[in-house]
Amino acid sequence: MKRQYGSLLVLCAWLFCVLWVPRHAAGIHDVQLARMFALPAPGLWFGADELGRAIAPRVLAGAAVSVPLAAGIVAASLLFGSFVGILGGWSGAISSRIIVAVMDLFQAFPGLLLAIAFAGILGPGLGNVALALALVSWVSFARLARAQTVGLRYREHVLAARALGTPTYQILIRHVAPLLVGPLLVEATFSFATTITAEAGMSFLGLGAQPPTATWGNMLREATQFMLIAPHMIVGPGLALLSLVTAIQIFGERLRRGWRGLSDLPIERH
C-alpha cells in the first residue's frame, strides 16, 4: 500500500506547495546578514544562504516557478509534437519524409546542448529557457505520435471510417487521436521529469530566471559558489529536485505498465 502510493504522495505534496506557496511567499528575499550561512536548526530547516535568507521557503517558492513552467513546456511540446507526428504519420510520402528529416535533424543534436545554445543566443531569462526547451522537446512526442499513427492507419476501424467517407480530420480526431493519448501521456510524464531537470540545469548555468528569483537551479548555482564554506546550501534544493524527479519517474513507470496492460485488451471504441 505504502510502496504503491509513495510517488503519488510526493507528487501531491509538491502540487500542494505549488498551489499554496505563491500566497505565502512574502519575505523570501529578506536579507538578514546576522544569520549568513547559518546551519540547519529548528525553525530554519535547511539553514540560510549567503545573504541570510532562509533556504526552506525559497525551495518552496522555487517549486512554484519551476513546476508550472515545466508543465507549460511539456503541454506545448505535447500539442505541437503530436500534431506534427500525426500529420507525418498520416500524410503522403513526400511531406512525411520532410517531417521525418526535420525530426532526425533535431534528434541528431544532444538535446540539452541545443537548448543551451538556443537560450545562450536568445539571452538569459525564464521565457527564453522555456522557448529553448520547447524547441527541443517536441521531437520525442512527434516521433512517438508518428510511429503510432503509421501503425493505426490500416486498422479495421480506420479503414471502415474511410470507406464510409468520413472526412480525414474527423478520422484523425475521433479514431486516431484517442488511441494515441495513453502512450503520449506516459511520454509526457517522463518528459516532465527531464524538463524540470533541464530547466534547473540551465538556471544553474545562469541562463534561467535571474536573481533574486528563487529557482532550484539558481539556488544550486549559488550553493556551488559557496560549497567550500557552506556545503549545507546544496541539501535543500538538491533534495527537492531529487524527490520530485524520482517521484515523477516512478509514477511514469507505473503509468506505463498500467497502460500496457490496458491496451492489450481487445476493446476499441467506435
Binding site: P110, G111, L113, L205, L228, I234, V245
Partner: protein, 314 residues
Amino acid sequence: MWTMGRRVLKAACSRVLLAVGTVFGISILVFFLSHLIPGDPVDVLLGERAMSTDRVNLERSLGLDVPLRQQLVRYYSGLLHLDLGVSIQTRQPIRTLLAERAPYTLALAVTALGFALLLALPLGLWGALYPGRAGDTCGLIFALLGGATPSFIIGPALIVIFSVWLGWCPIGGADAPDSIVLPAFTLSLGLAAILSRQLRGALLHVLREPYMRAASARGLRVAALLRRHALRNAAIPVLTVLGMQLGALLGGTVITETVFAWPGLGTLTVEAIEHRDYPLLQACVLLIATSYVIVNALTDWLLACCDPRVRGGQ
C-alpha cells in the same frame, strides 16, 4: 571466419551518407542560430551608443556586412577549409581554441564511458542472474537515483565529500592526473544507470531462450554460458542504447565541466555564452553535435558487425 559481406558494405555506405546529410543539416541549423539573436547583434554586443567605426568593424568581423546568400557561401567555404573564424572575445582563431579544449572533453567522455561500463556490467549481470534478490534491488535503487540525480547536484556533493572532507581528489581544474576522476564519475552515473537496467533486461530475455537451456544441458559452465551465448546476444540492445545515450553524455559535459572547471568544450561553450561570443558558440555546438553524429554512425556499424545476420551477407 568473418568476411565483410556486401550487405555490410552497402549498409555502411548508406549510413555514411546519412551521417553526412545530418551533419549538413546541423550546419544549416547552426548557421541560422546566430540569426535568432533578438534585435541587431551589433547592438547587443556594443550597446546602442557605440561609435560607428566600431559598429562597422564588428559587423565585418561577424560577417554581417554582406547579404545572407554571401554569408552562407562564406560560412560553408570556411567550414570546408576548417576555418571557423576568430573568437570575438580573445581574438584567437576558433580552430586553435577548439583544438586546445577538445582533447580534454574527449578524455573526460572516454573515462566516463569506462566508469559507466565498470558500474553497469556487474550490476546488470547480478540483477539478471539473481532477479529479485538484494543485489538486484540495490541495482534498481542505484538506477533510479543515478538516472534522476543531475550532475549539478552529484558533482558538488562529490566535491564536498571527496575533496573537502576527505581530501582525496583535487577540487577542480585539470592540473593533476587524478582530477579527472570526480568529473568522469559524475558524468558516468546517468549512463551507468540506464545501461545497467538495459543489460539486466536484455540478459533476462536471453536467459529464457531455449538455446540457453540447451547449452546448459550440454554441460556448459555458467561463465562460458554467459560469455559465449548470453552476453553476445544481449550486447545488441545494450549497444543501441549506449549509442543513443552518448549524446546525453556529450550534452551533459557542458554542466559537468562547469561544475569541476574542467577546461574542455563544455566550459568553452559556457564562456562563449557568457561573453556573447556567438561565432565561438556556433563552432562549439557544431563540433559537439558532429561528434555525436559520428559516434552514432560508429555505433550502428559496430551493431552491424556484432549481428551475424548482417555480417554474413547472405
